[in-house]
């Protein structure tokens, strides 16, 4: 049971090109999206794309390069730490904003 | 035989895609999280099947981590949703 599809790319290149597309997708989203939480998602997608490029280009015919793997593992952990910091900042900013204009936004129809 | 397992992995991916259609349509938040949960189960299945196809038992560790943390997103999602004043 072989080749229902022609093999256009090596496995490594396939994932690396997917990574490149993810980087572009994330950049576009980062520029056009307005809400900071959504932009945080976009940054994460860019990061995932870069990781895939690193991993894909390290995928040789019989082994996967351990160096990019190690880089990506540390990268994933740093990314989640910075995402946590970003989310905390976004929540804090919303809290500050909510505290600055009390009562007006608490109700559906603002009191006169 | 390994090819059969890969084929099953492809079909499992397609069921994940089908589940994600429900995630997209909603309508409620419960549906969306439910669909994400089903996608997670599908991915665990793919990991098990790929492990069998490639004869690598370490893939099972990935599946095991997936099952251990499968409920965590649902738990986080339901927590903030009690009715006002329903505290304990």
């Amino acid at each position: 049971m072989d080749l229902p599809l022609p093999v256009l790319l090596s496995t490594g290149h396939l994932y690396a090109v997917t990574g490149a597309a993810l980087v572009g997708l994330g950049l576009y989203a980062f520029i056009t999206l307005r809400h900071p939480l959504r932009q945080l998602l976009a940054v994460n997608v860019v990061g995932a794309g870069i990781f895939l490029i690193l991993g894909g280009l390290g995928r040789g015919p019989d082994a996967t390069d351990p160096f990019p793997q190690a880089l990506v593992i540390t990268g994933i952990v740093v990314a989640v730490a910075l995402t946590a910091f970003g989310a905390a900042m976004i929540v804090r900013q919303a809290q500050t904003r909510a505290a600055a204009k009390p009562a007006a936004d608490d109700n559906e129809n603002p009191a006169p | 035989m390994a090819d059969w397992f890969t084929l099953v992995a492809i079909f499992l991916l397609l069921t994940v895609a089908a589940a994600l259609v429900r995630c997209w349509r909603g309508p409620g938040p419960v549906e969306r999280i439910m669909a994400a949960q089903l996608a997670g189960t599908g991915v665990i299945g793919v990991a098990v099947v790929l492990g069998a196809a490639r004869g690598d038992a370490a893939f099972l560790d990935a599946a095991l981590i997936g099952t251990l943390l499968a409920a965590i997103a649902v738990t986080a999602f339901v927590r903030g949703t009690a009715k006002p004043g329903a505290k304990e």
Binding site: G12, L25, G56, V72, I73 | -
Partner: protein, 320 residues
């Protein structure tokens, strides 16, 4: 057949990413982002990078999902639904052109580099000197140990940064209670948390142990531990600790400090972070066991967020 699997997987990764970014509803975005994390884990399995897949599945599907869901719930409580709004058409067109051009360039650059596992050949003959077989662990804890050492401090720095966002008067206190408000849910989640925390601890210990020779390691184990701690925290099995608890502080710095101490002691054996011959495996395992504990606690607290006022009621249960 394998190529068909890889191709479908890559298309699904791109699709889930696009929906996660551009869908209107914030919860749908997060649900798709969780699915995206799961599929990325499969991509690493497809690349035979099981070490990375373990980390990606634990973080992308587990910890990041919780983090985003909690952030959304907190924003929603403040009246911010985080729905995506459109930006001006001109900006979108400009960004589209620029990003499309960038992708073409990047893809061309990527395709001009043949994928190869070049450094694998460099690392392989060096492994017997370490006494471990997992090459990724070898890179992380021996050949580029200073990277990992610095990273363990970066994590600590991120936690300090998150804590620094505590509102005035909340310091030193507890993060906002992540527990369930609804009593029946709290019972279900509590039972699950009581079961999951010890299991996660065992799984994490196994991952560190296996990480010497098989895929696994401190980062993967730390993430699993963080997941267990978070579920237990949400179910009320453990209370979140106050940020000035000495035991907590000790758990946070244990890994980095032990790592640094062993690294400095290496000066006697020939240089910073040099392991004496014959002792490499023992030292690596020691570093990894302390590091995984610190990483787990740090990640769990990063997700829980900064100390909040009103969350600092005395609670007999502490985490440590």
């Amino acid at each position: 057949m394998t190529f068909a699997f890889d191709l479908i997987l890559c298309l699904m990764i791109l699709g889930t990413a696009a929906i996660a970014l551009f869908v209107r509803d914030a919860l749908a975005a997060i649900a798709f982002f969780i699915a995206f994390g799961n599929l990325m884990g499969l991509a690493w399995l497809g690349l035979d990078a099981v070490n990375v897949a373990l980390a990606e599945i634990a973080i992308g599907a587990g910890v990041t999902g919780v983090l985003l869901i909690l952030a959304r719930a907190r924003l929603l409580a403040l009246g911010d639904a985080a729905t995506s709004t459109g930006s001006p058409l001109l900006l979108r067109l400009g960004a589209l052109a620029a990003c499309a051009g960038f992708v073409v360039l990047l893809a061309a650059a990527v395709l001009s580099i043949p994928p190869e596992s070049g450094l694998d050949r460099v690392v392989a003959p060096l492994m017997p000197g370490l006494g471990i077989e997992n090459r990724v662990t070898g890179v992380l804890l021996a050949f580029r140990a200073y990277d990992t050492l610095l990273e363990s401090f970066v994590l600590l720095g991120a936690l300090v940064a998150v804590w620094s966002l505590a509102p005035a008067g909340a310091w030193p206190g507890r993060p906002a209670d992540p527990g369930m408000a609804d009593a029946p849910m709290r019972r279900v989640a509590g039972t699950f948390g009581q079961l999951l925390l010890p299991v996660a601890l065992v799984m994490a210990a196994y991952l560190v142990w296996a990480g010497s020779d098989l895929p696994g390691g401190a980062f993967q184990a730390g993430t699993v531990l963080a997941g267990g701690l978070l579920v237990a925290g949400m179910g009320g099995t453990i209370g979140l600790p106050s940020s000035d608890q000495p035991l907590l502080r000790a758990a946070l710095v244990l890994g980095p400090v032990v790592f640094l101490a062993i690294g400095l002691a290496g000066v006697a054996a020939g240089g910073l972070l040099v392991y004496p011959a014959g002792l490499a495996k023992a030292l690596i395992v020691t570093i990894e066991y302390t590091l995984f504990l610190s990483i787990g606690v740090t990640l769990a607290l990063l997700v829980a967020g900064p100390p909040m006022p009103g969350a600092s009621d005395p609670d007999p249960e502490g985490k440590g």
